[in-house]
């Protein structure tokens, strides 16, 4: 006490001792207030507003027109692109997650060994992460454009465009995402790898384990917390994909690359202009995300214990 607050007058100390719990609780609340205010203002209130929107007739241009539950949810599920967008989003998520995690881990293993080119490699893998996703998408928009791209002659001679067919558009966009995020996942994996004590590897080596065996039996199990974190991040991020498709494909060609979030944006601002239905899809997505994340975390935890 004297160390932490040497100048405190005895009277205050006495009062403090008389009701230490209440005072500390109040102080605690006080410290938590700024965060609480932000959480309430920036998370809880918007969330409640979205829920309210989802059960109200709420056109973009005229605002709240009163409750109409559950019309919006019926309309959302019956929307002509709802099923397509869910299927496409899942397809994209699986593709992006597998590629990003495999590549992130591979790159991390590559730069983990200290070598001469180590720093250069790390930096060059990480640099794309410094670019905002929208800027990166714009960069690739030009790169993929059959008109303005430096690769235009190549596309011309091969009779192929990067965004011209549904599959090409999906793979081109996934390539952008891998380019943009591989470095980020590499760093996360690297942190995980460096958290594995060296003596475990030493023991494995003295037992005569091959490289592959070491990786399978030592690295992967000990990397589980990191894998859990990266999977959750990657799956959540991919399910909420928007910018890259909005900028590169606008859902095309022929409505083949509409993600769920794009559908929300389209319903809200591009034509239907119905915030109620858009909010209903948002609520569905939110529920799905909570469920998926809970399942993922549980899966990783149960294997651990």
């Amino acid at each position: 006490m004297t160390v932490t607050a040497p100048s405190r007058p005895p009277s205050a100390a006495k009062r403090g001792r008389a009701r230490p719990r209440g005072r500390q609780a109040l102080l605690g609340w006080l410290y938590a207030t700024p965060t609480a205010v932000f959480v309430v203002a920036l998370f809880a209130i918007p969330l409640l507003l979205v829920v309210k929107m989802s059960v109200s007739k709420w056109p973009l241009l005229t605002g709240d027109q009163g409750l109409n539950a559950p019309d919006n949810f019926v309309k959302a599920v019956n929307h002509r692109f709802f099923t397509d967008s869910v299927v496409f989003t899942i397809k994209y998520t699986v593709l992006a997650t597998v590629l990003l995690l495999a590549l992130g881990l591979g790159l991390a293993l590559l730069v983990q060994e200290s070598s001469r080119w180590n720093n250069l490699l790390r930096a060059s893998f990480l640099i794309p992460s410094a670019l905002g996703l929208a800027s990166a998408s714009l960069l690739f928009y030009v790169l993929y454009s059959p008109y303005a791209s430096p690769l235009a002659p190549v596309m011309d001679s091969l009779g192929f465009t990067f965004l011209g067919s549904p599959n090409a558009a999906l793979f081109s966009t996934t390539f952008l995402i891998v380019w943009r995020y591989a470095g980020f996942y590499m760093v996360l994996m690297l942190v995980g790898l460096q958290g594995i004590p060296a003596d475990v590897y030493e023991a494995a080596r003295s037992d005569g384990a091959s490289r592959w065996q070491t990786f399978r039996k030592v690295t992967l199990p000990l990397l589980r917390p990191t894998l859990a974190l990266t999977t959750v991040l990657c799956v959540t991020g991919s399910l909420l994909a928007f910018e890259q498709f909005y900028i590169l494909t606008k859902g095309g060609p022929d409505n083949s690359t509409i993600t769920v979030v794009q559908l929300i944006y389209m319903v809200a601002f591009q034509g239907q202009n119905d915030l109620g239905v858009a909010a209903a899809i948002s609520v569905i997505v939110l529920a799905a995300l909570v469920l998926i994340n809970a399942l993922q975390l549980r899966a990783f935890r149960s294997e651990e214990s």
């Binding site: 241009l61 454009s145 008109y147 034509g271 202009n273």
Partner: protein, 432 residues
Amino acid sequence: MRTTLGRRTALRSLAGVMVAALTLSGAACGNDEPSGTSAAEAGPNGIDDGSELTLWTRAPLEKQAKLLVDAYNASHQNTVKLTVVPNDDYVAKVGAAAGSNGLPDLFAADIVYVPNWVSQGLFQDLSTNINGLSFKDSINKGHLSAGTVDSKPHVLPFVLDLSMLFWNKELFREAGLDPEKAPANLEEYAAAAKAVQGLKKDGVYGTAAGLNCGGCLVFTWFPSIWASGGQVMSPDGTESKLADETAQKVYSTWADLWKSGAVLPSSAGETGPTWTAAFTEGKVGLMFYPATLLSSTPFDAGVAGIPGPSGGASTFVGGDGIGVSKDSKKAAQAWNFLSWMMSEEAQVEVLAKNKDVVSRSDLANNKYAAEDPRLVTINEVAGKGDTPVALNFQQAFNAPNSPWLTLIRNQVLNGGGDLQKDNGEITAVLKQ
């Protein structure tokens, strides 16, 4: 002592936070009625008292909007502050502002959205002012009627954008075509495109179109249907007629052009931002092109109305209408801008001088039009053009996932599809 002080401070700051939160929410919910002089009370010219007005427009009309605003600011005490919003974000921005009562004093809207926005009450009623204009009958009919609800006009034409047939005279000459003569019908159009393509010049193509851009296609292909006497929708805008015979001929001509390789390849994925770029750079023989770009087309280009399968000429009278927003408290000052905008001074000395189309037919034969016969052509075709009116126009045609786009892509690029079914989808959206 100190603890009580500390606690009091704590309470006080808590109270402060709550007061701030209350004020914020109060401000957010505050529903201010427009005050100040209304446009109708202000007289024919409005009020020019040094107020600051805000004006929003979308990026494609930035050049014209800037010219108008600069000219107004230079000659008036009021100042107009212009905000240019990217085309794709415009509806979202206006929608968000309308919901929170934060619309600017003046805002322009794509003329095809105007019927919907007026009926949603985003614009103030300007009937007293507009009906008081001596030249009311010569204001572009398409724009004026798009903004008229219950026979009350709410919106004036801001910038007229007409779709015209543009051709590159240089490329025409090289391909052995008459550079002074426009293709008279869609067949000749296709033949000309193939002739330019036949030059086999590197990076040069016969024609181009925004084949993944609903708005571009509406703008450039509807006139082809009108020119041959066809209709695109029922007059009330609730039934699509885009599976009719004339429309089918338009699709088959373009499908044939696409198959022959005379269409710029990037057209297939073109969502709008660069749909005119290749022509502007002189790499496309001929295309249906916006007349607003006449002044920024650097080479010698010919201009004519858009022909249909059996000839004729028409145009899509597009562009933006402008009105006073429901949230404006300076309606009288805003009307000052609008009345100036419709004056001969603004129409001729700003718009016509920049080779833009004037929105008053009585000013069509001005001195600048006399200097460039292409402007006379554009002004003439403007009279034959049309502005389609439908409440759900955006969702049916302009949206990136619109059924209209599906129909076109099936007919032109993917070879087939069920035309009647695709057309039925458009009708279903129009009827909503």
